[in-house]
């Protein structure tokens, strides 16, 4: 017991020394919010609540690109933009029930803050379940997550974006990009309709 007592203070301090630098590397690599997992990165970068999630579902019968946000930005060719989940808002699909809206809100909250592979898989399952009810097969899905940025010299808002693509049931990264053309850079990596 005495030995444990002696170790506790040193362990606490060792964790305070070692964990935050590791946390910085992990947050960068796995894209989770700097506010999570006890790395003392609160207020170091915008929290997950300020990120936005864009979900694109491939629909090769779609003729017109859908508008992503109240801008001129369009969904990639062959994809339908389905939902944008921002801070507290959820521009939900009109046919969603309130239960489905809540489930989607919770899923996108996890993706925005934590971005774990399991969160993307869950979102994929949620979309599949909705499609299955209409007799549709699992579609190709792309999920892009954007973090707000500001160029304080030029006075310009832009975004850091990373994304994942699900094809044939497997999720893979489409990489990351920064700037106002980030969406175009990443969506160019999505597979086109045959």
């Amino acid at each position: 017991m005495r030995r444990i007592r002696a170790l506790v203070p040193w362990t606490i301090l060792a964790l305070l020394v070692l964990w935050p630098p590791v946390h910085i590397l992990l947050a960068r690599h796995y894209h989770f919010s700097t506010w999570r997992y006890g790395g003392f990165g609160m207020y170091a970068a915008p929290d997950g609540g300020e990120r936005e999630v864009y979900v694109f579902i491939q629909d090769c019968s779609a003729r017109n690109a859908t508008e992503v946000a109240p801008t001129t930005t369009k969904a990639p060719p062959g994809f339908i933009y389905r939902v944008r989940a921002g801070r507290a808002d959820l521009m939900a699909l009109p046919e969603l029930s309130s239960d489905e809206q809540r489930a989607l809100s919770s899923l996108t909250r996890d993706i925005r803050s934590l971005s774990r592979p399991s969160d993307f898989e869950q979102l994929g399952r949620w979309i599949d379940a909705r499609g299955a009810a209409k007799g549709e097969s699992p579609p190709v899905i792309a999920v892009l997550v954007s973090t707000p940025r500001l160029d304080t010299v030029k006075g310009a808002a832009y975004a850091d974006v990373f994304g994942f693509l699900r094809e044939r049931g497997r999720w893979s990264s489409v990489g990351e990009a920064s700037g106002t053309s980030a969406l175009d850079v990443l969506t160019a990596r999505l597979s086109a309709c045959p």
Partner: protein, 294 residues
Amino acid sequence: MNPLSLREVTNGLGREFCAPVAPDVAAWFHRFFLGKTLLLECLGVMAARNAEGLALARVLIMSTALLLAETRHFERLGIFVFFLLRTTDVVLSFPYTINHAFFECALLLALLLSDRESEVPQPARVAQVGILLVFFQAGVQKLAHGHYVNGEFLALRVLFDEGDMGRRLRWMLEGTAQLGGLAPLPPLPLPRPSFIAGAEVSLPAWTWSVLRGLSNGVWIAEMGLPVLALHKASRAWAAIGLLFLESFILVLSGETSFGFTTVACLLSFFPELARWTYPAALLALTGVVVLLGR
């Protein structure tokens, strides 16, 4: 500094770290830390319109535990109850746990397992070194993630944040504009643009400079003051600086729970004043919590 004197310094720091803290400080730290947990719990229950039975039970259990922690025989039992409740909070809120909850759990564990008869560092020492590390690491995080050097994190709050932090920053800037006869701020907050598509934003030129200066000041102070606290000659001034920094952060962000924990740790750097500073800080912080409506 030659290698020999460096060794002397590090040896000195090690000896100092293991040396006992004045009993007065240890007792007040312990009392303040447990007391603030109970106080914030009580305020939370009072603020909730329909307090649940569980919340009331927690207050009752914490009150009993606080009384037990003041007795000689049941001190550890009282602390154990606080540790158990805080750990439960951490587990239940994970992975959305607020960062300082982990630190508070660690401090409670240090309090619980403290052994006053050995040379093991005491909880107040862990709190002292721990809080310096917390500030330093928070500064490193701000620097590493790249949202502070150009002032963009605070600028985003000023431009688009409808919450308390954005409001207080705008209030501060508007006050600066009035006092200094500077160009006034446009109507804020702006509706959030689509960052993914890009948008232009504008603020008076002086505002960008102030925000850049403030942002850089925060991470430099967070990293610099703990380093100054390593040396005995500058320690008290560094602790005072950190108390000012924490007060600024507390008022700006409204992070009251972390504010209490930080103040509890920082006041232990002034052992001879403990019996005055801890009760005064408890009163002052309670006032701030009530004023901020937290």
